[in-house]
Amino acid sequence: MLSWMIGGAQGSGVDSSANLFAYSISSAGYYIFGKREYYSNIKGEHSYFNVVASDRPVRSTIDPVHILASFDAETVFRHAHEVVNGGAIIYDASQEGESLKNIPTIEERVKTDLSRWLRDEGVGETLKDVLTLAKRRGVKLYPIPYMDLIKKTGEILGEQQLTLLMRMVNTMAVAASFALLKADINRLHRGLTYAFRAKKAVVEMNFAGCKVVYDYVKSNFSDDFPISLPNRPLPQDLVLVNGTSIVGIAKVVAGCRFQTYYPITPAADESVYLEDKQVFDLNMVDGGDYEYPHLAENRQLSGKGHILVVQTEDELAAIDMAVGASLAGVRAATSTSGPGFSLMVEGLGWAGMNEVPVVITIYQRGGPSTGLPTRHEQGDLLFTVFAGHGEFPRIVMASGDMEEAFYDTIKAFNYAEKFQLPVIHLLDKSLANSTQSIHIPNIGDVVLDRGLLINEHLDGKSGYKRFQFTDNNISPRAPIGTRGAIFWNTGDEHDELGHISEDPVIRTRMMDKRMSKLELVKESIPTEEKVVIHGGHDSDTWIVSWGSTKGPILDALEMLREEGIDSISFLQLKILHPFPAEACSEILSGAKRIIDIEQNYSGQMAKLLAMEAGIRPTNWILKYNGRPFSSTEVADAVKDVLSRNTKRVVTNRGG
């Protein structure tokens, strides 16, 4: 396993070099997981990307860094201490004289800590001092004269304008890493083609630079770096995805044809991706025997489908517009983050009151208020479960990783239409912005369940009632535009036709109709869609958690097993509302120790567990510093709990 990190000022190409590395090393046959950390800033602040590559699938990052690739001093100042003994730092040889105090983008708190450390070690405050300390503990140093190598590349390419080539330094840091790892430079060419898409000239220019650096490292340093990543057989059907792209693709598969959004970090990436992919292919499964809506009025598709993405004026409009489209019979969704969802709450209540299927995808980020706009948190669980005045049914579900996010997105639309209610799909910044190699999901098993959707014009004599009382409390749902099915909707309490009613008898019946759908949800959704058990069923020690902590927890459990701690099971909750109380009670009935792991302050899921199932965890591992758990961090925290029975472990790793 390799843990590789690259950093630099935002806007200087850190992202593209990270993508280049991730793709190129994947192309060499390795699985990757990459984590992106960045400030709420466009240019200048420090961002970094940590990629773990392995011959087995990886689901999280680890704390130790084996190679730190850099082209600015700030990255080394900030991250040198994370590099393991025997690891490597690749840096710009010309910056050794840079002084800590001259770097304006390092926060005072970080500067003070670094200064104190350097003083304690008895050295000065230049980059050279930091590197000397690293070297002293066995870190290998790889000074790269980027400027000279750019000049050399310019000579090879016959390019006089060196400013054109300056942006290549980040690519060069990747090439130097490849040289250390004895990885195949031709795979970098693949990566460049991926990173720069159609721009062939840019690919070739960068590749020329890569070769110069690769050769420079080969001929100027000994090839004794302990990790090497030679080509391996490429796993089949591997794709590089992040949470926003995989959810976007899943929406297309799910039949979502209307998506709204108001720009917000980190959710907006999904909508922008969908806008780019708005026209898509149609398959010919079942011989193209499509179920056309009656509203198509004999129109036929000619080979392409379309998802309409609308950027709205705010999140109030975003949810309302999606609901408007849903009333017209369309699978519709909106995508947002915490502050946006705050605005959506009134629309959510209206959708609940009028039994409108709509999917709200939420990428949680650090709150409250603006909070940490570009950082990670699982702070919105209780908010989404209870959001809105009055009582109305909704489903809240959470995905643990990219693959789950794909299938869950499709399920979210099925649930929404089947039970005629809003579905909130919780994801988070870590899923949104991480990159992972996964196998292409199997779409062959996907079924789209539209519930009681009326798909024909009616004769008008049926006396259609949108909110007709039925045995299971689900009423046949006609889209607007259906002949013979005129109905009314209102946010007021209403009768079966949808007209305002303040009649106490009707009020009680309508409340019962809506709210008892939650019971139907509990009965109809199979247990394995609500909770997932990782490990043995009869363990004494259980971890309970939800969402993107899944990856670090599973990887941590593997590490602990290797250390002989193999008796821990992990209960992952996927449906958080209505809460799977019975399943939890049954599964946790024999548990002697229950460790709640969440990325929020309060242990929000544990509160639901106590409220709904009467089960209280014995220990908590919580984190709310804005950075996702690493697997090593989870493993250390679990060991802390097991060895010292620490009640509440609050971790704080990540820069």
Binding site: R187, L238, R257, A317, V323, S437
Partner: protein, 328 residues
Amino acid sequence: MTVTQKLTAAHFRTPLFNDWCPGCGDFGILASIQMALAELQIEPHRAVVFSGIGCSSKTPHYINVYGIHTVHGRPLPFAIGAKLANPDLTVIAVGGDGDGLGIGAGHFVNAGRRNVDITYILYDNGVYGLTKGQASPTLRRGLKTKALPRPNINDAVNPIALAIVSGYTFVARGYAYDTRHLKELIKQGIQHKGTSFIQVLQPCPTYNDIHTKEWFAGEDKIDPVSKRPTPRLYKLEEIGYVAEVQSDSEEERVKRRVEAIRLSYEWGDRIPIGVFYNDPFTPTYEERIAGIAPVYLEAAPAWQPIRTKSLRPVADVTNIFNELKVVQ
């Protein structure tokens, strides 16, 4: 599909008890909408009326077409969602002046930027009726309507001017008690390709004791010669005003807009009603979508099959995944 029976206003009525105050201007607007739909022979199931919250927003319940009574201030986003999903629908949004220009002002402005083919009718009586008569965004500063404990200290927004600068391509004003005239404006608004805005002046007999039916009729202004009231309202079409943009040029648009805005400030003794601005050239939002994705014309969201008859997805994302695929 053939219309077998000629539709009349009666076809657009529901049997519900209407709980507006006696003499409310809402009745005239409701009747005008029903007459307009009938005269245009729009089949009831192909039309949908969206509303916000307030007295006037009960309108959909009294019309026999799809009726969606939404959230305070938000009929426009709901309406736009439905129209873009199924462009076959005739979509009308209605709401009060507080709904549209107070809590919904953001949507009001941004709907103008899109020019979706819908009609928005604003019931303007200067007060919040259902909450017992507070000042609305169109009540002028210094006025003290019946329920206000102090005179209004906010300035009024100019709905016509705001609509024009926001980009609405059909902007008109009617009067609730002139249903024949208002009905024609609504018909024109529905037939206009793009977002139509119709401000309707209406007395609130319960809470607005200033802008009463008598005030609009000029009963306080008796002509010394004829001894008859001098009505405040006059019709733009009767003074030869040209509302229509004559050619697809920005210069021509600006000229008509400036003229319309100038007229919109006329208030007090003479108040114009009629069409202020009509631009048939600016492309609708639907046309703009089709410009990017021509497939929208045959594949609007509500017209697309999403699954096969055996419930499998029809979308093929192989090519999307191929772009993300790792190759050697």
